[in-house]
């Protein structure tokens, strides 16, 4: 079990669902170790907790040879930035762009941090819990070419 190796080396805690929690401070060191053990990146996502004023950034990696899956996450304050995982996994490019688009989390050293699913002039980040969803859609004025 490669999970136990990581747990021992970094003294990590585990949730009841078997998800490792690692501190943001050790990001580069930890990711390098993970990349060596799990070469396959499955997904990166986030979850917003407005009452704690923080995000959870969740990573899922796999080892295709043994089929072992590892999910680990970190807590991030709303005004903080997190280093990009692009240095270790190229696939993080689009996944982090999606998180930036829908949550507004900024990634340090990301090669191309733009919105990916929504138009570039969209206001707000829809998957945040404080995003208003019951408002009337904006009307587009085709003559003036503006909302």
């Amino acid at each position: 079990m490669k999970k136990e190796i990581l747990k021992k080396e970094f003294n990590l805690e585990e949730t009841k669902d078997g998800i490792l929690i690692f501190p943001v401070k050790e990001f580069y060191h930890f990711m390098e170790k993970v990349k060596g053990l799990f070469p396959y990146l499955s997904f990166i996502t986030a979850c917003h907790f407005p009452e704690r004023k923080e995000f959870e950034i969740i990573y899922c990696v796999r080892d295709p040879q043994s089929g072992e899956t590892l999910i680990f996450k970190t807590f991030l304050k709303e005004d903080e930035e997190i280093p990009s995982a692009y240095k270790f996994y190229k696939g993080a490019d689009w996944m982090e762009r999606e998180i930036y688009d829908l949550f507004g989390v900024k990634f340090k050293n990301h090669p191309d941090l733009r919105r990916i699913l929504l138009p570039e002039d969209w206001e707000g980040h829809p998957l945040r819990k404080d995003y208003e969803i019951n408002r009337a859609p904006e009307k587009y004025d085709y003559r003036k070419k503006q909302y």
Partner: protein
């Protein structure tokens, strides 16, 4: 400028916009290609034209209400979307599933896989165009076989493309009497036809020239980008979630995982052709071994029951026709999910496109894009 004709200097780079309404992009993909002559220097995919906010809807609808939404995600294989979701919710709330329901689920998700791969084969050959005398021939052939499979879905559930077959705790419909006879006929037919099509294509020199050695994806790159399904197995990584992490009742069936290590368009084509044969094998076993059980452990959803899973997180991934389709659900004990992440296979498969296109000719864009088999309901969610 000479009159209205602009003369380009040699070595000058031009920017070509392809899509979003291009017939060969299989949906709505915009590609911004930077060309030097006929060669592609840089490619930037622009996605999101079909973004419907499904993940946000997952946080506003209850677990049961959200199920029909998922049929619209990957609209070529609707049952696999439901399959992953119901497995995730069942794992979260510890709901048992009867054996018979599991067999029916496997049977119909494999049928979906064949139908989806047939659409892919037809449209892929249509994209290659001239390789098959216009390419429309095989497109129509494939759709003919697919229609037979969709007829089974229609007989079973009443709709062809969005069957809404599964419910949390089992399936909604039992197999209709006489399905064995229908399926056996269709499977034999499809099997013969698949062999025929493959023979037709593999012995076609134009098809070989257009696909062999085009869009080579090395093993390590495929893993870093998170490619899955036929794209990963075409690059020589033998990883299939049905074998690696057997879910539902896949451990009871005997089938092989096709894997080729060329990594080009041709090998991705071969993987998919072989997968269809394996799916036929699985369906035959599921039909023969169909156990006598109730089809669901829950009441049919005519009464309003709210499922309230305990707080926790769960991630369940299944092998959809395009790869690893996962659902990450964060529950806080309410009947509505706190966070619903859909890990779409096409999204990751498409993100490798800029890497694949660099250095190829414009004519190969369509072949490489077609070999990745993206579905834009799945990419944009």
């Amino acid at each position: 400028m000479e009159g209205n004709i602009r003369v380009f200097e040699p070595e000058e780079e031009i920017v070509l916009n392809m899509g979003p309404q291009h017939p060969s992009t299989h949906g709505v993909l915009r590609l911004i290609l930077k060309l030097s002559g006929e060669k592609i220097v840089d490619a930037k995919p622009d996605i999101g034209f079909l973004h419907r906010g499904v993940e946000k809807l997952g946080e506003t609808y209850t677990y049961i209400q959200f199920l029909p939404m998922l049929d619209r995600n990957d609209y070529l294989s609707a049952t696999t979307n439901e399959f992953g979701y119901v497995l995730a919710v069942e794992k979260l709330a510890n709901i048992p599933v009867p054996e018979r329901a599991q067999y029916i689920r496997v049977l119909f998700s494999e049928l979906s896989r064949i139908a989806s791969h047939l659409v892919w084969l037809g449209t892929f050959c249509l994209d290659l165009g001239g390789a098959l005398g216009g390419g429309t021939t095989i497109f129509l052939y494939c759709f003919r076989e697919r229609e037979k499979i969709l007829d089974i879905f229609e007989k079973m559930t009443g709709s062809r493309l969005h069957p809404h077959l599964m419910q949390i705790g089992g399936v909604r419909y039992d197999v209709y009497p006489g399905i064995e006879k229908d399926l056996k006929e269709i499977l034999k037919d499809v099997e013969d036809k698949i062999n025929e099509y493959e023979e037709m294509l593999v012995n076609n020199p134009v098809f070989i020239d257009r696909t062999k050695g085009v869009g080579v994806l090395p093993k390590e790159v495929a893993m870093e980008y998170g490619c899955s399904g036929p794209v990963l197995r075409g690059s020589g990584v033998k990883f299939d979630l049905r074998k690696a992490v057997p879910y539902s009742s896949y451990d009871k069936f005997d089938f092989d995982v096709p894997c080729f290590d060329g990594g080009d368009v041709f090998d991705r084509f071969r993987v998919r052709m072989e997968e269809m044969r394996q799916s036929i094998k699985i369906i035959r076993q599921a039909l023969d071994g169909l156990p006598e059980d109730p089809i669901s452990s829950q009441m049919p959803v005519k009464v309003k029951v709210a499922i309230k899973p305990p707080p926790g997180e769960v991630y369940v991934a299944i092998e959809s026709p395009r790869g690893e389709l996962g659902y990450y659900i964060y529950s806080d004990g309410k009947p509505v999910a706190y966070r619903m992440k859909i890990r779409a296979p096409s999204f990751s498969n498409l993100s490798v496109l800029p890497f694949l296109l660099k250095g190829h000719l414009v004519a190969d864009v369509v072949a490489i894009l077609g070999s990745l088999d993206p579905v834009f309901g799945d990419v944009d969610r």
